[in-house]
């Protein structure tokens, strides 16, 4: 059951260029891996969608990359600050898979630590654009980390149930190789719960709201 609560920030840790923000869990349900939460970006009008990265006891942790005014405001929060968190929202990964393989790129590794914890140290291939970015790979146990110019798709072997999250070109490339992969997409969102129609993307040839139809979609 989704709800919105004001939660205290426990810690904000740098991980390469990324920020891992831990907040007290309060009465918020961590949901299914791949679901997301709307995080208040202090001083901004609209919250920002983030998938849950970790669910330590009594806490929720979100990994984010400061790329605009909202994520920069979030990356600047300090322990003791309070932010509103609303979720869990959308559809997460389908977990009834036989031979799972996680495929992630850049900040797209965010949902994998929680997913790996849920399904038990899943094999993973993670790609980053530099060694500095690749520091986030340490969050995912049992992961093979590659750095550009090597791409995750070069290491992809057939016969896995692929669960992928990353930049659009990576997801498109994974879809080419593994037509039945589960892909976690992203889009700018104002609300996260179907109200604003801002996050519509083309799914199966028609525009649909990613927040309610996704963010995890079957590739085929």
């Amino acid at each position: 059951m989704r709800r919105r609560s004001r939660l205290r920030v426990v810690a904000n840790e740098a991980l390469g260029p990324y920020s891992l923000i831990r907040v007290e869990r309060g009465d918020i349900d961590p949901g299914v891996p791949g679901q997301f939460f709307m995080l208040e970006a202090p001083g901004r009008l609209l919250p920002r969608p983030m998938s849950l990265c970790q669910a330590p006891r009594g806490e929720l942790a979100f990994l984010l990359e400061a790329i605009g005014p909202g994520t920069r405001a979030l990356a600047a929060v300090e322990a003791g600050d309070e932010i509103h968190v609303f979720g869990p929202l959308g559809n997460g990964f389908r977990l009834d898979v036989e031979k799972p393989l996680l495929v992630g790129g850049g900040i797209g590794v965010a949902p994998f630590p929680y997913l790996s914890e849920k399904l038990g140290r899943l094999p993973a291939i993670l790609g980053f654009r530099s060694d500095w970015h690749a520091e986030a790979g340490a969050l995912v146990p049992n992961a093979e980390v590659v750095v550009e110019p090597t791409f995750v798709t070069e290491r992809l072997e057939k016969g896995h149930d692929v669960l992928a999250c990353g930049p659009e070109p990576m997801l498109e490339a994974v879809r080419e190789l593994v037509p039945d992969a589960q892909l976690a997409w992203e889009a700018p969102m104002a609300c996260g719960y179907g109200a604003c129609y801002g996050c519509s993307v083309e799914i199966d040839g028609v525009l649909q709201r990613l927040c309610v139809a996704g963010p995890v979609l079957e590739a085929a």
Binding site: R44, P188, M189, A195, Y197
Partner: protein
Amino acid sequence: MILNASGCLDALEAPEVARALDVFVTKTVTPQPREGNRPVRIAETEAGMLNSIGLENPGIEALLADKLPRLAELGVPLWVSVGGFAASDYAELCAALDDRDEVAAIELNLSCPNVDEAPESAAEIVRVCRAVTGKPLYAKVSPHAWDIGETVRAIEAAGADGLSLVNTLRGTTLDARLRPTLSRGTGGYSGPALRPVALAAVLAARRVARLPIVGMGGVETGRHVLELVACGATHVALGTVLFADPDAPKRVRDELAEELATLGSDSVDHLFGVALDTVASGVNSSERLRVARRE
């Protein structure tokens, strides 16, 4: 009454939010289904947000057959927002909704900034709709009109039962490469920046009209509700605030009660239109206000 602004809430996705309102207003429906504009559709600014959704909706047939019965199950009075590209579109929609018991009122979206406008004036559209439905008709007016009073007078004379003020303002933002952020180029600007515009529009409308007015534009708190009422709004709608805070209907009500308590009152009635009394005007407003006071 507290309503949602049309297009700012999907009651079927968030029934708990809709039930916290006195009225649920649907997203604008058009005669034919519309996919809406291509992404990018939204952009945040320092003082608001732009949207260019483009009236994405399933069309009137799907609304009547599928959505309306499900919306009625919510137990919240329903207003249906209608839009089109000619007066005949609006009339067709009003006629189709006229015999539906689920519909408490129809809001005419006369001012969507994200599609091409109907060539007829707002008052002409109200007139043709009035001819085909007995449902209460609320005209949602653009804040772009230089003389809102004149527009409102014509709309009232054409037979509208109420006004919704205001729709969004047209705006543009540019990305890092100095290209419009939104794929359509421009969008409707809403949020805190719209609040003073809404207050001025409601004030101008109340000076000339006796109709009920749904005030909207940047409302985030109980205090903001009071301000619109002070300018002459009889009802208030929440828009952009619902995106950031789905609990806003209850919170705003609680804040409104607190504001009133500090004023030693339990009703907004005695604050209705008080801002008009101090605004220089040739019109003696007190008689009009008594007539327009909420039912």
